[in-house]
Symmetry: C2
Subunit: 259 residues, 2 copies
Amino acid sequence: MATESQKKATVSSTVEDYLKVVLKIEDMKQRASTSRVARHLDVADATVTDMLRKLKKAGLLEYKPYYGAALTPKGRRMAVRILRRHRLLEMFLHQVLGYGWEQVHQEAERLEHAVSDLFISRIDALLDFPAQDPHGETIPDARGFRQVEDDLCLAEAEPGSYSVRKVTNSDPEFLAYLDKVGLRPATRFCLQERTPFQGPLKLLPQSGREPVYLGLEASGSIFVLPLKDRPRAPESDPRAPASRMAGDHAGRSGDEKAG
Amino acid sequence: MATESQKKATVSSTVEDYLKVVLKIEDMKQRASTSRVARHLDVADATVTDMLRKLKKAGLLEYKPYYGAALTPKGRRMAVRILRRHRLLEMFLHQVLGYGWEQVHQEAERLEHAVSDLFISRIDALLDFPAQDPHGETIPDARGFRQVEDDLCLAEAEPGSYSVRKVTNSDPEFLAYLDKVGLRPATRFCLQERTPFQGPLKLLPQSGREPVYLGLEASGSIFVLPLKDRPRAPESDPRAPASRMAGDHAGRSGDEKAG
DNA sequence: GAACTTTATTAGACTGGTCTAAAAATGAAG
DNA sequence: CTTCATTTTTAGACCAGTCTAATAAAGTTC
């Protein structure tokens, strides 16, 4: 019923992964260079060179040697389709099977290649056509439309009230930490002062109450406190696990290998 | 939570398919010869010879050249695990996502290799630990135990009252036909006369009402009628699609390639 | 038990996806 | 514009899984 009468140019899950990565890189407004793609996929550069040429030949992307790749409309459609499947599956695992938000990514990563269109359309309906996944990422609709929002990076935010728009990191440990600490999509908090922390939180400015306090250690780690416990000055805090874990991830805040 | 602390000798889905087929053949009390395995998997005999030797080396089965293969305990455990996954997934697709029983097999065939143990244990709980799949096949429990029942083949059945125990055929068209006609696991019916039909129906003698009549055309096709419409003598009937479809499948009633 | 048929195995090759190591192009710095 | 460092591509190889064609066991018949 769902997606009939379309040329099913079925591709391997490997190809799907390459397209997904190129889309992700393009979304970050970076050039999809051989090495960048290789880092995301954790394969050798030479492997990527080969593959990009194959994908070019298949009409899924443009590829200029020594420069990089860019999705064609066709490649983009396929990549967005996988993105949709991934996020819908994450939502399904979270809502229907009770997975923690730190558990959904890995499973969706495999399932996105294996489930049928029927499966996807059934869980879509079951979830009542959700607009976001458990991380707050927007789910492209069945036609492949995605509303791209201008999220605010934590590092760009002026002091004020915000809510967490999305968390762009899929590391289970880190997400479990955020969860423990009560920081998830839609959580509201007060940013005390500007911070250079580049972490995976994307924010939405917000007027309203501020139930949570979010601050920054000297080391660069983030920490979160109920507002009533807010310290006078946001400096060091003997919160061992929090410091450790947040620190770990703040360190790798650039881009590669984060998802 | 479910299946921790066990050596995860992860194998490819291809290997899982080979093991599954050998288990299936052994369950039919046949010798898992090279060519029989090859027919089930739809690959060349030479391919199977290679693979059986690899699987022997991996300790998953015994293999005697020019004779055939037999699962080792380890191979059997793995095969039963896949069987469990397959049937649980079928039940899940049917019950939770509303798949028709003719649709579940194909999807489960892919998913059984892709989902995690967590996924399986979650759907198991969600379905309240079902004992059978939509076709009436018994689902092995989490420890790998399976109760094997002595079902009656249609061809062995004397005239009398029965209910459908299970349908061991996964052809979507055929199953859709049986469904349309109201013949599924637990359906009760009256067998009018002994039939040489070797089809995929397994029966369980049953005392009770007989709402359905199942008979045999001269050609070997089956057909079904509500009891009140039952004809005096079970002969031809101008029910075109029924005759056609059932005939198609009764023809290939032996064993190979049926599932 | 010799001849023939069937079934199984070997031999050699191909594909997709990957690797390492070496060569080449690009780009940055003097 | 040369030189050096970085990035990318080429060359050659490997592995898993598959195929076809040729050969060799096993089984069947007379």
